[in-house]
């Protein structure tokens, strides 16, 4: 393998160990995975609180994933670059999910307000009696809508203002 000696930079990288897993390690890992599976199923009997439940479940899944990655996929013995690719991809997934999540979470009130009057169902949105005024969702003061303008009493609204919606629910157009 003459080419290796000449590639100073790649010397260690290219050295492949042909690591063979012993039956003990393989079976042991598998047993570990089975135990963790039992643990995660068992954990639903215990309530740690809504957030903590998810964290416990994900922690166990993470531990199982690490076992599979490091031993079954022999990442523990693999070249550094392959490890980097895999965990690099994980980092990009996390970035993608977390940034999108931050945005969506912060917009929740704007959607909830809309849902309050237009309920989404498999058949398409259905108008319902509103419980909150959408105008109040911006975070600013809800009481101050019309400002100083005086509206004549006799003028009845022709089109429902979001806080004055019709009594009967109606079915909005469906997607298809």
């Amino acid at each position: 393998m003459a080419y290796r000696e000449n590639e100073a930079e790649a010397h260690d990288e290219e050295h492949h160990e042909h690591h063979i897993m012993s039956p003990k390690v393989l079976i042991g890992t598998w047993l570990g995975l089975m135990v963790l599976t039992g643990l995660t199923v068992g954990a639903i009997k215990v309530d740690f609180g809504a957030q903590a439940n998810l964290i416990v479940a994900m922690a166990i899944a993470g531990a199982k994933a690490m076992l599979v990655c490091l031993i079954f996929m022999h990442l523990w013995f693999d070249q550094k670059y392959n490890v980097m690719i895999f965990f690099g991809s994980v980092i990009f997934v996390v970035l993608f999910i977390s940034i999108t999540f931050i945005d969506t979470k912060r917009n929740e009130p704007f959607r909830d307000a809309y849902d309050a009057t237009n309920k989404p169902t498999p058949e398409g949105r259905v108008l319902v009696e509103p419980t909150v005024s959408p105008i109040s969702t911006s975070g600013s003061d809800a009481a101050a809508q019309p400002g100083e303008l005086k509206v004549p009493e006799h003028q009845k609204p022709k089109v429902p203002w979001p806080s004055q919606l019709p009594d009967t629910p109606r079915v909005a157009p469906t997607a298809h």
Partner: protein, 348 residues
């Protein structure tokens, strides 16, 4: 082309007038200031880059194919870091002022006057706190305004260049922005999020006579007239306008009221009254005719049929047309529908 050279002449006196429409909101001032800061930074950088490029090309020309430049300098870390720093500083400045203006436009004061904006294919509908609605936007002058925007069908985007503001109308949620109007004036508005066939007519557009489908010309200037605009009115005029909008059909018979609604509620975009086919079937000769539907059934065009077609347009799609019409449930009252039926009846 004549106009363009005229505009160029103009620009030497007033670059803002060349690049931008009027400033009609407090927000516009900051936007323009930041814009022109970047504008000058860009022009200076660009001139330097191109001047150097041209200078090098002329000065360091290859005289003969074997000409080898004597010095092969390959890097200079101080220089590299040095020219990155100004880029970074400009970036920080721009980010700061951009964010300030943006946060401002997203943070309405509690006493802002609220107008609801609803986009649908292919028109805007503005509703005011008294329940009045309009297809033009009327705003009081020198007042803080908050627009609460929503959409009935697909994404739209409400854009008023003179306010330097735009915001998407997203179905399933409310979006909003705030600004403060300045002096009374008339401005354009647009839809800037692509929304289908008539996207380009959703907003200020050239006025077309609903009956002849001809452009309407301004008798004084000879230029085409436009409709669907933003009117910033003095406070008193604004209140007067709101009253009128509250009851558009006052004093009109049913068919005339229907004709008014036909224009106002954007029926005009898809249904002609002269027999031509636009997006939907024409209204001319509709009344009493036999309608053949895409699913093979048919019906006679009577009150019931028209009412159904308005409220549940996808239920009975006439053969040869696409089911694109949105429902007008909630947008037209029972009275309105009767007026429209009367109008269709009158179109023999």
């Amino acid at each position: 082309m004549k106009n363009f050279s005229g505009l160029l002449m103009n620009s030497s006196l007033d670059p803002a007038g060349f690049w931008f429409p009027d400033q009609a909101s407090q927000n516009a001032e900051l936007v323009d200031d930041v814009y022109f800061f970047i504008y000058w930074v860009s022009i200076i950088s660009f001139v330097i880059i191109v001047a150097l490029m041209v200078f090098f090309v002329r000065k360091y020309k290859r005289n003969k194919p074997d000409h080898m430049p004597p010095k092969q300098s390959d890097h200079n870390t101080v220089l590299e870091v040095g020219w990155s720093i100004p880029v970074g500083i400009v970036g920080v400045i721009l980010f700061y002022f951009g964010a300030i203006g943006y946060i401002d436009a997203k943070t309405p004061p509690s006493d802002a006057y609220v107008v609801n904006v609803r986009g649908y294919k292919w028109a805007w509908e503005f509703s005011y706190p008294n329940g009045a609605t309009s297809t033009d936007l009327y705003l009081p002058a020198n007042t803080p305004i908050k627009l609460v925007i929503s959409s009935d069908d697909v994404l739209h985007s409400f854009f008023v260049p003179a306010f330097r503001l735009k915001q998407d109308a997203v179905p399933g949620r409310y979006t909003e922005f705030y600004f403060e109007t300045k002096e009374p004036g008339t401005h354009h508005m647009f839809c800037t999020e692509y929304c289908g066939t008539q996207h380009s007519t959703m907003g200020t557009r050239v006025k077309v006579d609903p009956e002849t489908q001809e452009k309407v010309m301004d008798p004084e200037t000879g230029q085409p007239m436009v409709e669907n605009q933003v009117f910033v009115l003095p406070q008193a005029d604004f209140e007067q306008k709101l009253k009128e909008l509250g009851n558009p059909c006052e004093g009109l018979d049913a068919a005339s009221c229907g004709k008014l609604l036909y224009a106002k509620k954007a029926c005009v975009g898809c249904h002609s009254v002269d027999g031509s086919k636009i997006v939907g079937p024409t209204f001319k000769g509709l009344w009493g005719s036999d309608r053949k539907f895409a699913d093979g059934t048919s019906a006679k065009a009577d009150e019931n049929y028209i009412r159904n077609s308005v409220l549940n347009p996808k239920g009975q799609v006439v053969a040869g047309f696409n089911p694109v019409m949105p429902t007008y449930q909630g947008k037209l009252s029972e009275e309105d529908i009767k007026s429209i039926i009367a109008y269709i009846k009158s179109l023999k």
